[in-house]
Amino acid sequence: MSAASTAIPRGLAPTRHVLDNGLTVLSKHTPVTPAVTINASIRAGAAYDPPECPGLAHFLSKTIDRGTAARTADQIAEALDSRGVSLATAVTRQVLSLTCTCLTEDFEAILAQLADIIIQPVFPDAEVESRRGEVITLIRQDEDNPAPVAVDGLMEALYGNGHPYGRRLRGTVEAVERIDSAALRAFHQARVRPASVSVAVVGDVDPQRAADAAARVFGNWKSAPAQPLDITVPASSAERRTRVIPMMNKAQADIAYGFLAIARDDPAYYAYWLMNHIMGQYSMGGRLGDSIRERQGMAYYVYSSLDQSPVPGPLMVRAGVSAANVSRTVASIDEELTSLAADGPTEQELLESKQYLIGSMPRTLETNAGIAAFLQSAEFFGLGLDYDVRVPALLQAVTRDEVHAAARRAVDPARATIVVAGPYDGTLE
C-alpha cells in the first residue's frame, strides 16, 4: 500500500506517507481537542491558468465542491453542514487548497467527502452559472478596493502583464464570462492528479489511521503526473517606476512599493527573511513602522512582506495613508530602505529578530490549522520533515554581513516599483 513512509523522532515529528499513485499524506497526532484539521493542497494555483483564461483556477476553487459523480451540490452541503464542517477553498499563485476542521468521530466520512470532491467533480451548468455571478462580484469588489488595486498593479508591473505572477489571481470579468463546464473539466483533468496532491491530517487521529483512511479513499485514483509548469523569471527593473491609479471616491490611499526578490530555495533566503523582518515586521512593522506609524503617525498599517516562492517572489512594502501624506510616506520608505542598504542592520536588531522568529515557533505550531499549514509549506518547498527543528540553526547562522548584502541587493529605491491607488491624483517622485 505505501511506497514510502518516514518518521522523524524529534520536534514536531510528523509522519509522511506516499501512496502508490503518488499522493502524499502528512500527519501529526495532537490529542488536545476531539477535532481534526484536514488541509489538501493541490498544485493547481493561478500560475497554471492558461494565458488566455486568467481566473480559471480561482473559478475551479469556487465550483469544485458543487457536485460530483456521486453526490449533488445539495448533498455535499448537507453532509458537511450537518457535521458542523465548513470547507474553505483558496487559491494562491501555486496551489489550490481545501481546508476544513471536523470532529474526530467524523474524520473518515469527511475525508471520503473531500476525496470525492477532489477526484470527480462534475461542474453542473447551473452551479457554474450561479458561481460565475459570485466570482464577477468578487472581481468588481476588488476593483473598488484600493488595497487589491495597488497590489495587483504592483504585481503586473514587476512580472509583466500575462506572466503567471503578473495576472490578477481572480482573472478578468471578460475571461470569467467565457469559462464553462468544459473548461473547468479540462483544467481539472490536466492539473488535479494524485502526484499533485498533498493531504495534511492534524489532530486527534494517529498517523496509521490517517494513512489507512487516505489509502481507502484516494488509493484507487490512477493518473499520470501532470506536466510541470515552467515559469520564466523577468529581469528586475533597472530604474524607478511609479504609477498612480486615482480612485477619488475613496477615503484613503494604498501604497504598494516593491521589488523582485528571491526564490525560496536560494541559500540566501534566510538572510532575506531576516532583512525583511527588521525592515518591516519586527514588533509594529520594523523600521518602517517606527518611522511611518509610531514617529510620524501617518498610517494605521505599514509593513513589508516577502513571499515564499519557487521563482523570485515579491518583496513588498504596504501602507494605507491619507492622500495628503502619500509623498511623505513614499519619501520615508525611500529613506528607511536607503539607510538599511547603506549600513545594514545593527547587531542588536539582528539578535532581536532572530530571537523573535525562533521563539515564535511554538506559537506557530500550537493549533492544528497552524501545524497543517506549516507542514504543507515545508512539503511544497521540500524543506524536510525536520524543518521545524532545523529553523533555529538556519536563522542563527545568518550573519550581519549577509543581511546587509541582502539589503544592498534587494531594496534600492532607485530601482523600486511604486503603485498608489486611492483618492490621490498627484504625481510621484
Binding site: 457535521r83 484613503q252 506609524r293 494605507g320 500550537e366
Partner: protein, 435 residues
C-alpha cells in the same frame, strides 16, 4: 495572600484580590506557552457626546510607555520570547493580550500591571495616535460594507450609546484633547473594573503569587456613574441608504437582539445558525473561518438563487441588547429591491413558521462543533473566559453547551416571531452611485 475569595469550578481557578481585581487562571499543558488577557469593563457604550472613540484611542495610548517601561522599551519585552501582543476595543470592553513561551509570564504580568497603573500619555504621542486612528477610520471607510454597518447601527439605535461606532465619529477624533484621554484612562483603568486571565503551561499557585506581587498594591477606585440609557421601543421599520460611488451593492438588515444574559440569547444563536450557519461565540476567532452555511436558509434563498455573492449573520453576547445583523452582497446586476424582497420573505417565513426539527438538530450539532473548534489554543480559551466575565459571568461560557442542547423548537419559534418582526427591523442599503 491578598486573595480574599477562591472558588473552583471545572479547571478554572477564580480569585478576587482585595482591590477588586478578578483573576482567572487555567492550567493547560499542551504546548510550552502562556497567555495573558487583561480585560476592562469600558467600551464605546461608556462614551458621551464629543467623546466618541475615546475608549479605543485610550487603548492605542496604552501601548505607548509607562512609568517603568519607557517609550522606546515597549517593543522587545514580549518579542524576545517570540511572543505576540495586541488589544481591541468594542462596545462593552477593552482588552489587551500577550501570548509567548511560558517563561515570559512574569513579563506579561509586569506589562499589564504597568498598563493598569501608570501609562504616560505624552502629548506628542497623543497627537501621533490621533492621526493613526483617523487613518484607521479612513481605511475602514474604503470598505462599503463597514460604512453601511456604521450607518445601519446608528439608525437602529436612537438613544443607546451602542449607536456610535467604536472608532468614534471623525469630528470627535479631531477635537478630543490629551486630558480627555487621560481622564478616561484614570477613571476606568482600576483593578475593580478589570479581569485578568492567565491560561497555559504554568503553575497556577506560582502565577497567583506573581499576580499579587504585580497588582496587589494598585488601589481600587469608584468608576462613577455610566450612561444608563435604555433604547426606547421602535415604532416601525427603519431604513437608511448610503449612496457613494462604487461597483457593488450591499444589503444589511438589523434586528434588536437579546443581551448575552437574556434567556432568549441562546435560542437566537440557534436561529442564526439555521439562517446563516453557526459561527460560535468567539469575537476573536469565530469570524476568521467561514461558517458551515451552504444548506442554511438565507444561503439557499440568496446565494444559490444567484441574487447574492455571499451572506452572513452576526450575533454575539453583549452586556446590553445589541443587534442581530444579516448581510448580503448583491451580485452584479441584481437590484437591491429584489435581494431585499427575497431576504425579507425568508425572515418572514421563519418568523411565521419557526424552524423544523432537522434544522434544530443540525444547528445544535454545528454550534457544538464550533465550540470545540474554538477551544484549540490557549489564546482562544483565555479570550472566552475574559470576554464572558466582562459582558456577564465567565461561568456562562461553560454553561453554553448545556444551554444550546436544551433549546426547543418552541423557543426558536418564539424568538423568531418576536425578534424578526418588521417593527424591530432596520434595513440598510449601500447603493453605488454613478458619480
Amino acid at each position: 495572600m491578598a486573595a480574599v475569595e477562591e472558588r473552583t469550578d471545572s479547571a478554572v481557578r477564580e480569585h478576587i484580590l482585595d482591590n477588586g481585581l478578578r483573576v482567572l487562571i487555567q492550567e493547560v499543558h499542551t504546548a510550552p506557552l502562556a497567555t495573558v488577557w487583561a480585560w476592562y469593563r469600558v467600551g464605546s457604550k461608556d462614551e458621551g457626546p464629543g467623546m466618541t472613540g475615546v475608549s479605543h484611542w485610550v487603548e492605542h495610548m496604552n501601548f505607548r510607555g509607562s512609568t517603568n517601561i519607557p517609550r522606546e522599551k515597549v517593543k522587545g519585552i514580549i518579542e524576545q520570547f517570540g511572543g505576540y501582543w495586541n488589544g481591541y476595543t468594542w462596545i462593552d470592553q477593552t482588552t489587551y493580550t500577550e501570548t509567548a513561551t511560558r517563561d515570559a509570564l512574569d513579563h506579561m504580568l509586569f506589562i499589564e500591571a504597568e498598563r493598569m497603573g501608570s501609562c504616560l500619555y505624552d502629548p506628542e504621542d497623543c497627537e501621533a495616535e490621533r492621526t493613526i486612528i483617523i487613518s484607521e477610520l479612513q481605511g475602514g471607510e474604503n470598505d462599503p460594507d463597514t460604512l453601511l454597518d456604521q450607518e445601519l447601527t446608528a439608525t437602529a439605535f436612537r438613544a443607546h450609546p451602542y449607536r456610535h461606532p467604536t472608532i468614534g465619529w471623525l469630528p470627535d477624533l479631531q477635537t478630543m484633547t490629551r486630558d480627555d484621554l487621560y481622564g478616561h484612562y484614570r477613571r476606568f483603568y482600576v483593578p475593580n473594573n478589570a479581569t485578568l486571565v492567565i491560561v497555559g503551561d504554568i503553575d497556577a499557585n506560582a502565577a497567583m503569587r506573581d499576580v499579587v506581587k504585580r497588582f496587589g498594591s494598585i488601589p481600587a477606585r469608584d468608576v462613577g456613574r455610566r450612561p444608563t440609557t435604555k433604547e426606547p421601543g421602535q415604532l416601525g421599520e427603519r431604513r437608511v441608504t448610503v449612496s457613494r460611488r462604487g461597483t457593488t451593492a450591499y444589503l444589511k438588515i438589523a434586528h434588536h437582539a437579546p443581551a448575552g444574559d437574556d434567556p432568549e440569547f441562546v435560542p437566537m444563536l440557534v436561529l442564526d445558525a439555521v439562517l446563516t450557519g453557526a459561527k460560535g461565540v468567539n469575537l476573536w476567532a469565530s469570524f476568521r473561518t467561514p461558517p458551515p452555511q451552504r444548506s442554511a436558509r438565507l444561503y439557499q434563498a440568496l446565494v444559490n438563487t444567484g441574487l447574492a455573492s455571499g451572506i452572513g449573520g452576526s450575533i454575539v453576547p453583549t452586556s446590553e441588547p445589541f443587534v442581530y445583523t444579516i448581510s448580503a452582497t448583491a451580485t452584479e446586476g441584481t437590484p437591491l429591491e429584489r435581494l431585499e424582497e427575497a431576504a425579507v420573505a425568508a425572515l418572514d417565513r421563519v418568523a411565521r413558521e419557526g424552524v423544523t426539527p432537522p434544522e434544530l438538530t443540525k444547528a445544535k450539532t454545528q454550534l457544538r462543533a464550533r465550540l470545540v473548534f474554538e477551544n484549540d489554543s490557549i489564546t482562544n480559551i483565555a479570550h472566552q473566559l475574559g470576554y464572558f466575565a466582562t459582558v456577564g459571568r465567565w461561568q456562562d461560557f461553560h454553561a453554553l453547551p448545556g444551554r444550546i442542547e436544551a433549546v426547543t423548537l418552541e423557543q426558536v419559534a418564539q424568538v423568531a416571531a418576536k425578534r424578526l418582526s418588521p417593527m424591530n427591523r432596520t434595513i440598510g442599503w449601500f447603493e453605488p452611485a454613478d458619480e
